[in-house]
């Protein structure tokens, strides 16, 4: 950024809300010098600073790339609306926090795809960063635009905007991809030849080298490579040994408060429970644990380097971590003197938590969160959430007698086969949880019972047994929400529900094909951005975008798919096979549960990955 632009930026910062979001300079931020032989990479998070800085994946990639002597990684986030307007008016390009470099000056920029509703932000960020929004319109020297993260598992709605997608665990491939880009530039390769080099790297999908055709009914007919460099399927990259894998030993400590302002210890990746709605549970297989030994060392380094007063354990199912008791006890022992408190989010309620809970209570009592997901046993069996009412009530009673008084319960509505009776079961369950609290004599329980029931709208996702399912229409969702609102009028209970419109759109993108890219582009042209923030979400503009693109949203969201339909995301092999998913789908409709595969192998397909599966 030149001096004049920088001056305009400094002046603008005086006029915007929360300018601390845009200035960087945090403890442990890595500011490397730009010099020949060092590849500059911009990690782009398409949401606000507060959300971005709470994301573990960014910290891992930031660390991995910055550890390379021939690379540097800088952070770029979506500016808030006031800053965005100011930057446009003052002609200030989107810039990185570390060295204030315009996005266009990086060799490569990489977006993480955490949530479908951040897609419009990506287009705005490219445009504001001085990079052509469509990949075909980019100059030879323009940065290579990469993307990865969970939503990359269905990349097609972003195919005209991203040059290359990195599938699977990013820390496994990002350095390889960046080095290939640097080499290509050194050799003076053309842009398309560099992309050919990338396409040859396992786990990399370069959409311009493929072509899709469609049946008359709109479903996908065929999908084939059009270039010798491209192959099918793309096989996701997997970090096999988490102890060997890179993990940050220091992380930037924001000045300003962020969403999750603490040290995050990733204890495990993957989950074998096999909940049928859960995409992460399929995407992140196989299960890989990080040893307690390694975690103790990491925790000590992170505490010393950050000064954080709180630490949380993270994974899809921390209750299943085999060394949980040892880990919790060890962390408490080590850090009690340093006054670091430990929180355990996303605990499944069927783990052996008694000891862990007791230990946690010693340091700090934070809220408890449970996710029964459905209100009746029948529906929990359908979704294979192996949790019984008895489990929940027993754990709630234990927690209340340990001194907890706040409990959060997460549910979904619109699950396949759901009836009103299932919904009313949510209220029933909430009442029983309150009953557990009142059953404990007054002197022995903490005061101030607070139950929060959150009910999301079910969004069928690729690579799940429900990938064939239809989402409820918005009208039906609203009817169900009303029903539940009335049923949950209970003392000391707060009911939160998700926006039906947002969930509808999320469903369109989650299982969208290449034609959804036209909708995205039209929405971007109509000024849609920050759609994940209810106050900025404009349904009318989105509906106009669908119309302009000639696309029917119901085709994506509300249509029940046939068994043999070819899906756009089948270009990717995540390990789990379609045959397994269909089997699970059929069992769901018979309300048959499937046990955790650690008991015996269910043939999900992961064993095809060498060394991936313990059994």
């Amino acid at each position: 950024m030149n001096q004049q632009t920088n001056q305009r930026l400094e002046a603008l910062l005086e006029r915007v809300q929360k300018p601390a979001r845009y200035v960087g300079g945090e403890m442990n931020a890595v500011v490397k010098e730009w010099q020949a032989g060092v590849i500059p990479f911009a990690f782009c998070f398409p949401d606000s600073y507060e959300v971005a800085m709470s994301h573990l994946g960014m910290k891992i990639i930031y660390d991995v790339v910055n550890r390379q002597p021939d690379m540097l990684c800088e952070r770029v986030m979506m500016p808030w609306v006031d800053m965005l307007a100011g930057m446009k008016a003052e002609n200030i390009p989107l810039f990185s926090l570390e060295n204030r470099k315009p996005l266009s000056s990086f060799a490569a920029v990489g977006f993480t795809l955490q949530y479908e509703m951040s897609y419009t932000n990506i287009l705005h960020m490219l445009d504001m960063g001085g990079i052509a929004v469509k990949n075909e319109e980019r100059d030879e020297g323009a940065p290579i635009v990469l993307a990865g993260g969970p939503c990359a598992c269905n990349p097609e709605p972003l195919h005209p905007f991203i040059d290359a997608f990195l599938m699977g665990d990013g820390e496994e491939s990002v350095v390889e991809v960046l080095r290939a880009i640097a080499k290509g530039r050194e050799k003076g390769l053309s842009r398309v030849d560099i992309l050919r080099e990338l396409a040859a790297i396992p786990g990399t999908y370069v959409p311009r080298f493929y072509e899709a055709s469609y049946h008359e009914d709109g479903t996908l007919k065929d999908f084939q490579p059009t270039d010798k460099a491209a192959s099918l399927p793309i096989i996701k990259r997997v970090v096999l040994d988490l102890d060997e894998a890179a993990y940050p030993e220091d992380i930037p400590v924001p000045f300003t408060e962020i969403v999750h302002d603490r040290i995050v210890l990733e204890v495990m990746r993957g989950c074998t429970r096999g909940c049928r709605f859960c995409q992460a549970g399929m995407l992140y297989r196989p299960v890989r644990e990080r040893s307690a030994e390694r975690l103790f060392k990491l925790a000590q380094k992170l505490v010393d380097a950050t000064g954080y007063e709180e630490m949380s354990l993270s994974s899809l199912s921390t209750g299943d971590y085999t060394q949980l008791n040892e880990l919790v006890r060890g962390l408490n022992e080590r850090f009690a003197d340093q006054r670091v408190s430990l929180s355990l989010p996303s605990l499944r309620i069927d783990g052996h938590l008694q000891e862990a809970l007791t230990d946690t209570a010693k340091v700090k009592k934070s809220g408890l969160t449970f996710a029964p997901e459905a209100g009746t046993q029948r529906l929990r069996d359908v979704i294979n959430k192996g949790v019984t009412e008895e489990d929940l009530l027993r754990t709630a009673t234990e927690a209340f007698s340990q001194g907890y008084s706040q409990i959060k319960l997460y549910f979904m509505m619109g699950l396949p086969t759901e009836t009103d009776e299932d919904l009313l079961g949510i209220a029933d369950l909430a009442r029983k949880v309150a009953g557990c609290y009142y059953a404990i004599p007054k002197g022995q329980r903490a005061r101030g019972l607070k139950i929060v029931v959150s009910c999301a709208v079910f969004v069928p996702k690729p690579f799940t047994p429900f990938q064939w399912a239809a989402q409820d229409t918005m009208e039906e969702v609203r009817r169900k929400q009303k029903l539940l609102r009335e049923a949950l009028n209970i003392k000391n209970l707060t009911f939160n529900w998700h926006d039906s419109e947002l969930s509808f759109l999320e469903a369109c993108f989650a299982r969208g094909d290449r034609r959804m890219a036209d909708v995205l582009y039209e929405a971007y042209l109509r000024g849609c951005m920050l759609d994940g923030w209810t106050e900025h979400f404009k349904l009318d503009a989105w509906l106009a975008a669908f119309e302009a693109a000639g696309v029917d949203p119901a085709f994506y969201a509300n249509r029940l798919r046939g068994k043999d339909e070819l899906f756009p995301w089948e270009l990717l092999d995540i390990g789990v096979t379609k045959a397994f998913l269909w089997r699970e789908n059929e069992r769901a409709h018979e309300a048959q549960t499937t046990p955790d595969c650690r008991e015996y192998c269910l043939g999900c397909g992961l064993t095809r990955f060498e060394g991936a599966c313990a059994k």
């Binding site: 001056q7 002046a11 910062l13 005086e14 300018p19 601390a20 200035v23 300079g25 945090e26 403890m27 400590v253 000045f255 300003t256 408060e257 010393d304 380097a305 950050t306 000064g307 954080y308 007063e309 340093q338 006054r339 408190s341 700090k364 009592k365």
Partner: protein, 221 residues
């Protein structure tokens, strides 16, 4: 004992608000390994107090925090540890040990000294301010509308201006900063521009130091 800690909040960090600065300093103390004192209660936090909060957007050259310590620490050791523990934009300047019962810095602040420097492209406006100084200081009262949390009320800026002069091409002002009387640097700029009959020019403000009621630096009574 407690340590009176003088630090610089650099221009790069001028947008970090007071609460954020407090949290940053607490985390720096945790990283430093110094024997800080913790509050009692459910969520114990490190005890420290700042002599005077700094407005967002204004850097400070000699800001002051008071940090009670559970064990004696030498100033040199304190400085050494804090230098390593602070983020780049916060600079350790001086550490002065005080007995626990020394009067609180917060209670001793009486005034603060600010510098206003001209910005590129806004030289004309700045020079007009300088030219208006004699007329401005000759005024017996400088009425303005003071915005507070509870609303707006008329106030007089003049009694809060203890000193205002030009030094090395900058305007340097000593302004009241105590419970009875406070004059804010941004208001000074607005009122001065009014006297000069010009729109408020762009101007970089920084706080030079905090003073006691003898107009001596707070850290050197």
């Amino acid at each position: 004992m407690k340590m009176l800690f003088v630090f610089e909040k650099s221009r790069a960090l001028r947008f970090i608000g007071h609460l954020d600065l407090q949290r940053t300093m607490q985390r720096a103390l945790r990283r430093s390994g110094l024997p800080a004192s913790y509050s009692q209660g459910f969520n114990p936090h490190i005890i420290l107090s700042f002599a005077a909060p700094l407005s967002v957007g204004i850097p400070g050259e000699r800001e002051i925090a008071e940090i009670p310590l559970a064990l004696p620490v030498s100033p040199a050791d304190f400085m050494h540890r804090m230098e390593k523990a602070l983020p780049k934009g916060l600079v350790a300047v001086e550490a002065i040990p005080l007995p626990d019962d020394a009067p609180a810095a917060m209670a001793r602040v009486f005034a603060a000294q600010y510098a206003f420097s001209k910005r590129e492209g806004e030289e004309g406006g700045f020079d007009a301010l300088v030219a208006a100084l004699p007329a401005f200081l000759a005024r017996e009262s400088i009425p303005y509308i003071r915005k507070t949390k509870s609303g707006e009320r008329p106030d007089d800026l003049r009694p809060g201006i203890f000193n205002l002069l030009v030094k090395n091409g900058e305007l340097v002002a000593t302004l009241a900063l105590n419970q009875q009387l406070t004059a804010k640097p941004d208001q000074l700029l607005i009122s001065l521009a009014q006297t000069a009959g010009i729109p408020v020019p762009g101007c970089d403000i920084r706080r030079l130091q905090l003073l006691d009621d003898h107009f001596a630096p707070l850290e050197k009574p």
